[in-house]
Amino acid sequence: MLKKALIALTLAAATFASATASAQDKTLLNASYDVAREVFAEINPRFLTHWEKETGQKLKIDQSFAGTSRQAQDIIQGKKVDTVTFNQVTDVDILAKRGLLSKDWNKQFDNNSSPYYSTIAFLVRKGNPKNIKNWDDLVRDDVKLVFPNPKTSGNARYSYLAAWLFASARFNGDEEKTRQFVGKFLHNVENFPTGGRGATVAFAQNGQGDALLTFESEVVNIAKGDEFKAEGFEVVVPPVSVLAEFPVAVVDKVVDAKGTRKEAEAFLQFQYTREIQELLTTFNYRVHHPEVVAATADQFSKVELINPNEVLGSWDDIQTKHFGTNGTLDQLLAQKP
């Protein structure tokens, strides 16, 4: 009787031990922007199989989705995030500034540590009744725009920058004319929702404005997605627009404390593989892998992309000059139209 009890006890102990062992399987926490949900639902399982095949180790990935400024705030306040896959360079820079990751994070991986990129495109109503083709159509008096408030939404900051870069190129860097152009552009905005989703609803569901401005990937998703397919919205990619990189980085402080550096780096490196780059194009992101680029050439319109850093300086400079309190954006909004 006693023997039996002992055996049962050892068995129980053994199962308990193995349970704790499997609980010690490493876990990565990846923080992303809001609309990345579907993307990482596809990527993460693929990486886990890949990792198990390569190393024989089991790994788990937890995902967190929110606006990336919010994510950065949470990480600064101590959330244990191993990797970030953002849509804003500035929000990674903030982490670097606070010493959570190295200052030259953008050299850690290829292409400025951005495995994929996008740009700002327009979504217009069926048949493009206002004949909107380029940025200068957006400052016409009869055109009304919808995009989120650039203060509260990252993709709207790119919309603002794209308009600025277009005008700056057109007027050969004449700042006064550029300001006038962008001022007109801002005063044509009918509605400043606080986030991307609110802008989509205002334009697509509630019939506000003639054009919605957001990332090309989003524009195509709205036009082709089941929710608004029936509306027949059309995608307009202007001939010139802004380069919007989607940066990735390893949060050094966290991975060193957790001992997950190897896994975290492999996870981010995995985004550059052919398999994932192909997958990303199905979500309408532009990628770097030469074979994938060649294979999907028809999917993406030709566009000249201007890197904001080459014209306007570092993200720090852009942030203070344009988006700070009483920066250029505030000044232009305060002007009488």
């Binding site: 400024s69 903030i94 408030n149 203060k151 509260t152 905005v189 009918e190 509605n191 400043f192 929702p193 606080t194 609110g198 609803v201 205002a202 569901q205 509630n206 019939g207 506000q208 988006f323 700070g324 309190t325 009483n326 505030d330 909004l333 305060a334």
Partner: protein, 283 residues
């Protein structure tokens, strides 16, 4: 006066037992939930110089947002008070099928996440929406994504305050007063103006002031329907949010403090006014 009565009150032995325990708990709870956050706010403010504070709260765009918020809250309070009184009247005075349903529907704005409410209202009221397609040609003004949207959203979220404060009073009054007035020869209008309405005034003031203050701080519902155009339809709570997004925490706190202290001052004034009204009535 009050400074004299204060210590005497504490020296007197209370009749009900457990005073020190309950008073202590109340004070502790108040400190934890209300005073502590206010202290944190003040602490944040103390980092700023007066000049910085003034600059943060007197920015032209922020001042315009006070105006939008205050006027929006004012109009919505009038609307909520009138609609709320009617609702309370119907619920308490008439027994009709569906009364209980209406009674519980009144609390819906409390239960619904306010941003959902704002988004739903916007969808209904845009020129092509269910309601908007009739209302837009009628008034010729944009309701959603414009100033009227702010007032509508604020009215929606603050309506239960008025209903729920007026309702118990109406229930208490009962029919006796009206019947007495009727036998004394009062007309219907007279009964309402001189018998029912005066006893409702304190509750109406309380309800209206709660509705007003709720509207001052309303964020979710308003930003979904306002359009948020600078200088036109930006409310103060959005300005706080914008400053937070700029990582400009002191300025956000400064604007928050303006809203907080004006609400506090208003609440205090209303308390005083109400105390005076009640004591004036009993004299």
């Amino acid at each position: 006066m009050s400074s004299l009565t204060f210590p005497r009150f504490f020296l007197r032995h209370p009749i009900l037992p457990g005073f020190s325990l309950t008073f202590g708990f109340s004070a502790f709870y108040l400190s934890l939930v209300i005073l502590l956050p206010i202290c944190a706010l003040l602490l944040y403010l103390s980092d700023m110089s007066w000049a910085q504070y003034w600059q943060a709260v007197s920015d032209r765009r922020v001042v315009q947002s006070y105006y939008v918020t205050l006027s929006g809250a004012f109009y919505s309070t009038i609307a909520a008070t009138m609609i709320g009184m009617l609702l309370a009247w119907i619920i308490t005075r008439y027994d009709f099928p569906g009364r209980r349903l209406i009674d519980s529907l009144v609390d819906l704005p409390f239960a619904l996440p306010t941003s959902v409410a704002g988004l739903t209202l916007a969808t209904l009221l845009v020129p092509g929406g269910w309601l908007g397609q009739w209302l837009y040609p009628l008034f010729g003004v944009k309701l959603a994504y414009a100033y009227p949207g702010i007032v509508i959203a604020m009215t929606f979220t603050s309506l239960p305050f008025v209903v729920r404060t007026v309702q118990p009073i109406l229930q208490d009054i009962g029919n006796e007063h009206e019947e007495a007035a009727l036998t004394l020869g009062a007309g219907k209008v007279q009964i309402f103006c001189r018998v029912i309405f005066p006893s409702l005034v304190p509750a109406l003031i309380t309800g209206a002031s709660q509705a007003f203050i709720r509207s001052l701080g309303e964020f979710g519902a308003v930003i979904m329907i306002a359009g948020n155009i600078p200088f036109k339809t930006e409310v103060s709570s959005l300005m706080i949010f914008v400053r937070l997004q700029e990582y400009n925490y002191p300025a956000a706190t400064a604007i928050a403090s303006v809203i907080l202290f004006s609400s506090l001052a208003l609440l205090f004034l209303l308390q005083l006014a109400q105390a005076r009204y009640i004591s004036g009535k009993t004299k």
